[in-house]
Symmetry: C2
Amino acid sequence: MPENNTIESTRKTMQANQLSLSVDCVIFGYGEEGLRILLLECSLPQYGGQWSLLGDFVQPDEDIDSAAHRVLHRYTGLNNVYLEQVMTFGHPDRHPLGRVVTTAYYSLIKRDEYNGRKAYDGFAVKWFPVHEVPQMAFDHMVILDSCVGKMRESLREHPIGFQLLPKQFTLTQLQTLYEVVLDINLDKRNFRRKLMSLNMLVPTGDIQKDVAHRPAGLYRFDYDEYQRKLSRGFRFEI
Amino acid sequence: MPENNTIESTRKTMQANQLSLSVDCVIFGYGEEGLRILLLECSLPQYGGQWSLLGDFVQPDEDIDSAAHRVLHRYTGLNNVYLEQVMTFGHPDRHPLGRVVTTAYYSLIKRDEYNGRKAYDGFAVKWFPVHEVPQMAFDHMVILDSCVGKMRESLREHPIGFQLLPKQFTLTQLQTLYEVVLDINLDKRNFRRKLMSLNMLVPTGDIQKDVAHRPAGLYRFDYDEYQRKLSRGFRFEI
DNA sequence: ACAAAAGTGTTCAGTTTACACCCATGG
DNA sequence: CCATGGGTGTAAACTGAACACTTTTGT
């Protein structure tokens, strides 16, 4: 498995092929400071000062999903994380060093489980707020935008948000998650009514500890019940 | 531009690369007989008697969207047709002759504008009803299923159905289109109310001719008005 | 006159939205 | 006793689904 992304290794990969395939991951991190995106300082001189998504070439005998997982693991230390393919970008001039077609993925992780380094091959890695993304190299801004859209759509239509909370969570934590990631405001009473009416949140019986106000009840998401409902034609929707 | 898909040309393309990229198109044809899919008899001996989607390798300096349009044109004679990327399939063993990653597209055309041949390179091309697809080579059944799903989703959320009707059409023709392609039944009154409430169907003033019953009024889809509404945040939905 | 498809309203149920106050706890 | 967030109900507006008869035309 490749373990660096220097210009030399890039050239070597490209020379072996008329056409190369890469994966690029938009990694969303959810935490105290809101929703951020993990970016890498671009190593190509023509994109000096700009940033890029985290990516690598797909190896000759590697599944593209596996390549995306490998990239995700390399930069975050995480395995078995939710990763979704978004779209493939294949304009002939999108990469200045040659023909590279790239398949975009996004992932949604908890910032506090992130276990990456500050730099790779001498190039910085940094979290940026979604509303303050820097200049992006290649066509990575377009890719980023399409991943933001797809991620928000999936968050509304699949129960992937629960992976960003502790096993036990309060309804306010859940609401805040949707508000932050979707960049919307929700009504507390309506939100609770809707979520509870799905019959997939079960009270654990526990309550918050050490908070300077009335402690909230804790819930867990009943994944088995969700699967059962799914097979009966149910569609999750926030 | 490549103009054949024989086994020899396939091998040649693959030998030049560790990894090849192809496009595969699911071509839906709408007409009198309902919704059909255009398939090609598979040329590989190990898939004898099976059928495959219409595809080709992406050329070194060709956009992937262009490759899909090229394939579509080759097999249907059509240009400037609606074509949508669905997903990229990259399992290492999906192609018996080597590593081929493929990007799937679907297109929706009018059967009566179809202008293809009966065979290409000695292999038959045939329309199959969506409910009677034959044995498919490679992973093409999986690809087909994902394209059917995506096409139906897009039909409901974008006004792509109007491309399958004459410029002027009756409301019944429109309703039948949605019923056939989505494989559902719709209530006539509710359907008309909903469509008319979008304020994007304008009566042309003309009526049907030469029908053995009360002639229906003809409408056209106001694409400009649709664009205007779009930019004001409107979302099309059937 | 008949056959065939066009055209047209109303009711009911369920869902979504808007909105404000009291409660429990820690400090 | 104060500050902080937790927790709760109701009314109005809107949306989606069900449902049947009259009209116009050609033969």
